[in-house]
Symmetry: C2
Subunit: 199 residues, 2 copies
């Protein structure tokens, strides 16, 4: 099983950019769903955990493409909301901007000390007939009172880091080094390298 | 995360011997549940797939020991019985000998051409806070009409290979090279090596 070609199963431009930036050292041809003609293929995220959804996507697109496939599921878990929106983060409201507004509203009455939250990212890699693996990355923070910053995407502008900046106020380089997706990818990287070497 | 110590979470002496024989090249200290004081700890195999059960066990013992942990779930799937006994293979009857007798009885009326079956093995490796992975191995065969051979364990004496021998008529070296567990381990080995190198 050659790993010179690897499918990144996301239609999200922000995620795709992060993947490419972080794994750019590897001698791998990164393919998108569009590259392999699967852009229109929808995989229902019916799992009730991040790992279940990441595996569902990686398995489905890997089976459809025959390629080693990376997929992730990620979201934001707010303690005052018992972990919500969690696996429903991307479907919490119709647009990313509305998701942020809805979440700010949901915690409007929650005092500062109890606004703790975390970004969680599960990345799954399925290499057909060889191995299935996944890693998890987390970043701890809190929900801000208003949007700040223009980098990143999704909930980044309302996610406060311990240093007082929101995730959207980091440069993409800074974000990649501390983000949930960055941490999950960093854990996965040695195994991708291992696959490339054995290809 | 050092991988110089690795827990093999099985209480089955036959499986443990196979693991040690097959992975003996690696510079790893293989620990058993007994070695880490977890021999009495029971993990309920509540999953309805081999992979779910292998993950349940690897996660539970890894959490209890803090060690990188290998666990497997395996069994025999008989086509004429719609895949039974499957994940229930080890609990099909009280003893291994009774399991074989019961299975021979269950397919007693099934003609030779329809006695096809396969051994399936899922091996899960959990490295705490790093990665979870699993591989699958299969071997295709058929259910014999009577027991033959004294090597191996479990259903080996009634599992006919394409060459006419039962799995229990193979030497342990032959069995390791073609068995479901051997195939799953062979797929996993490069990643264990990768972990050892990065330890």
């Amino acid at each position: 099983m050659s790993l010179t070609r690897l499918l990144v199963a996301t239609g999200n431009a922000g995620k795709l950019r992060e993947y490419r930036e972080m794994m750019s050292d590897l001698p791998v041809e990164w393919l998108t769903l569009k590259d392999v003609g699967l852009y229109g293929m929808d995989v229902e995220e019916t799992g009730d955990t991040f790992v279940a959804n990441a595996l569902l996507k990686a398995q489905a697109y890997s089976q459809a493409s025959g390629l080693p496939t990376l997929a992730d599921d990620s979201g934001i878990a707010v303690d005052a909301l018992n972990g919500a929106p969690g696996v429903y983060s991307a479907r919490y409201a119709p647009t990313e901007a509305e998701c942020r507004t809805k979440l700010l509203g949901a915690v409007a009455e929650v005092p500062t000390a109890l606004r703790t939250a975390r970004f969680v990212c599960l990345i799954a890699l399925v290499v057909p007939d060889v191995v299935t693996m996944y890693t998890e990355g987390r970043v701890e923070g809190a929900i801000s009172y208003e949007e700040r910053g223009t980098n990143g995407f999704g909930y980044d502008p309302i996610f406060l880091l311990p240093d007082g900046r929101t995730m959207a106020e980091l440069s993409s380089e800074e974000k990649n080094s501390i983000s949930h997706r960055g941490r999950a990818l960093k854990k996965l990287q040695p195994f991708v390298e291992c696959l490339v070497r054995n290809a």
